[in-house]
Subunit: 286 residues, 2 copies
């Protein structure tokens, strides 16, 4: 018997679509209702097997649901959660999301009626967006951060944890604030660094670029509006990371300007040490 | 009949080894003599099929050679070329290299006796080093820049061009100075940006990183001494690129500090535009 009888996925893009594929692939869900504004994109998700049903009416879709996943851009998530809480969900229905920021969302959901919401952030994604890139194994071997707060019910926390584990993820629990500081460092700073690097590239030289340039700038291909929202939600933490990073670059500029070979070696070695230590902290190669 | 009877590869690492594999795989060379200081690494290259013979004596190996490739770190290349020119090479033997910088090397090789040297830089590589990572198809579909100068013989230019084409590369001709400015922008700046990004990462968060962090920092895993030499050879161009990049980051900091949504969108869109236009300038996907 499938664990979930009625799943609702609001925003069936790369992440929402991958959850749908993974739930179905594992026989965990009976019906998966995709909710969105674009019927064309919902029908594509249905055709790809990410959802079984389509709807443009959230309240109707959510009636009787035992799992709701909000896969929309971060600045719209809290409102969708509130709408779901106003609908006739099943008792103990888990509501979760896949947003890249958490503090601002959770600050808007502190009432007792939001006890069934437990924020999630799977550390899996791509510069590609859209259900066409969804994959049933997207979460396998990846960490997923969940961010319960004071009023989150124990059962919602337990359900969120077991959901992500069933999709192949290892679950880490952080407060929304610690989560946002962490992703400012390991995700949002790299995005800005890559965007600035791409923007600084002489376009006439693009045809000469190798794998180095390609990998270093890959994330800069991400959707502008998605990233605008992420950056604005996490502006203060990102600003602090960016200032620290700019300070490091000043150190590089000083070392080069002074032709300080020893300092250049130290700076290169420091970067290599951190990059190389990744191998020890991940199961996957490279 | 193979095109080359006696090939010498000085420094049989990732690039030198890949040239050996590619020459042998295509039946272009009869004998390929690997020259290096470490007999252990030469024997490994021989075992992997990248070379047919090993030698620790360059002058002896180069006697009668009709192709010499210098695959050593950039600051040692000019001296190796000079040594080769002092040995009994075949008439019209091509001497070339695979160094990531060109201006300083070519400035040391301006005598008439260096007419058989034509500098090369295949835009293929990896953060991985060593012959164990060498691949016969490393240059296929990649650009290789050649940098002939005034005294380079016409036959050396023609030979260098046809060598790289036979290994699968598309050849682009630049002056050594234009080459160095180009790679400061598309290769050496990304390296410093990635090294600084890795160095700024909170190591306790490494286990949470996803593909974004991994790709953006990949090149920071490159060998420190190789990169020290590259950076020092191209210090002035890199410094100028780095200052311009730091200025862009200041623009990001100002936009975030002022919460200037429109400017943030513009900055994101600019990075995305350049990154996305890569697709049109390459044959390979992504």
């Amino acid at each position: 018997m499938p664990r979930f009888h009625r799943v609702v996925i609001v925003g069936v893009g790369l992440l929402g679509g991958s959850i749908g594929l993974a739930l179905r692939g594992r026989g965990l869900a009976e019906r998966i209702i995709g909710v969105g504004r674009s019927m064309q994109s919902l029908l594509q998700a249905q055709q790809l097997g990410a959802i079984t049903d389509v709807s443009t009416d959230l309240l109707q879709a959510a009636t009787g649901a035992d799992l709701v996943i909000i896969g929309t851009p971060v600045q719209t998530i809290a409102d969708f959660v509130k709408n779901c809480c106003d609908s006739k969900l099943n008792e103990n229905c888990l509501i979760t999301d896949v947003g890249s920021t958490k503090a601002n969302i959770c600050r808007q959901l502190t009432d007792r009626e939001h006890q069934h919401f437990c924020g999630s952030h799977p550390m899996a994604g791509s510069d590609k967006t859209g259900v066409a890139h969804a994959r049933a194994d997207l979460f396998v071997g990846r960490k997923t951060i969940i961010t319960p707060v004071e009023q989150t019910s124990a059962i919602a926390v337990q359900q969120a944890e077991s959901l992500w584990q069933q999709l192949g993820s290892e679950v880490v629990q952080l407060t929304p604030e610690v989560h946002d500081q962490a992703v400012a460092n390991i995700s949002h700073l790299p995005h800005v660094v890559a965007a600035a690097l791409a923007a600084n590239t002489n376009e006439r030289l693009l045809s000469l670029t190798g794998d180095g340039w390609r990998d270093t700038t890959r994330v800069a291909g991400g959707e502008v509006e998605l990233w605008r929202q992420i950056i604005c939600e996490n502006r203060q933490s990102l600003l602090s990371e960016l200032r620290q990073y700019a300070h490091s670059l000043d150190g590089w500029i000083d070392a080069l300007d002074a032709n300080d070979q020893q300092r250049i070696v130290e700076l290169l070695a420091l970067g290599k040490k951190v990059r190389d230590s990744l191998a020890g902290s991940h199961r996957s190669p490279n």
